[in-house]
């Protein structure tokens, strides 16, 4: 079944830890995205990729980094987590930039 997966679903860590949020999709989409969503707020684009070895920063300034070595995999890494990184992180993919984006279930990150 074509889908998009995110792990972990919930993560509580201490300040200064390095973390990687995983995102994988089985739909063969070239386009993938990372959004940050705080309660009652808009989704903010933090990174996107239009294909293997292509990554761009989004509108929201973020201290995270991403990589795209395989079409299906788009991990997001925080080198040193801070309480200001506490948020929900949503991964999405699409067939083209103008088409429907399919979202994963999200990772809820809490940094103490």
């Amino acid at each position: 079944e074509a889908d998009i997966y995110q792990t972990p679903r919930y993560l509580v860590i201490g300040t200064g830890k390095k973390i990687t949020l995983e995102c994988s999709q089985t739909m063969g989409h070239d386009k993938m995205y990372w959004y940050q969503q705080d309660p009652g707020m808009e989704l903010h684009l933090i990174h996107y990729s239009y294909g293997v070895n292509s990554t761009e920063k989004g509108d929201l300034s973020s201290e995270s980094t991403v990589s795209r070595i395989r079409t299906e995999h788009f991990p997001l890494t925080l080198e040193s987590a801070r309480p200001s990184h506490t948020s929900q992180y949503l991964c999405a993919s699409s067939e083209s930039p103008y088409n429907e984006q399919f979202f994963g279930p999200g990772t809820r990150l809490t940094v103490l």
Partner: protein, 112 residues
Amino acid sequence: QKEVEQDPGPLSVPEGAIVSLNCTYSNSAFQYFMWYRQYSRKGPELLMYTYSSGNKEDGRFTAQVDKSSKYISLFIRDSQPSDSATYLCAMGSYSSASKIIFGSGTRLSIRP
């Protein structure tokens, strides 16, 4: 000023009521418009996609776009408790492929 404004609610209506959800936007370059539904602890899923002024109907859902007024609406007929969710409007332009702007979402609760 935000590019997309959406009343956050919460909006509570009895089962069977007609629900009207709205967004206004300031950027006349937006050319396509979407409504996503997001259940608690889940990622958003696309409900409606439209790129022209006027109405588009899909089952109990009708999306309405008025480009002259920069106003979009989602109507839900015969609302059901299963419609209880947060509804996000989103829009983009073909000249700025990476940039879909999301509203902050309206929380909707349908009372049995």
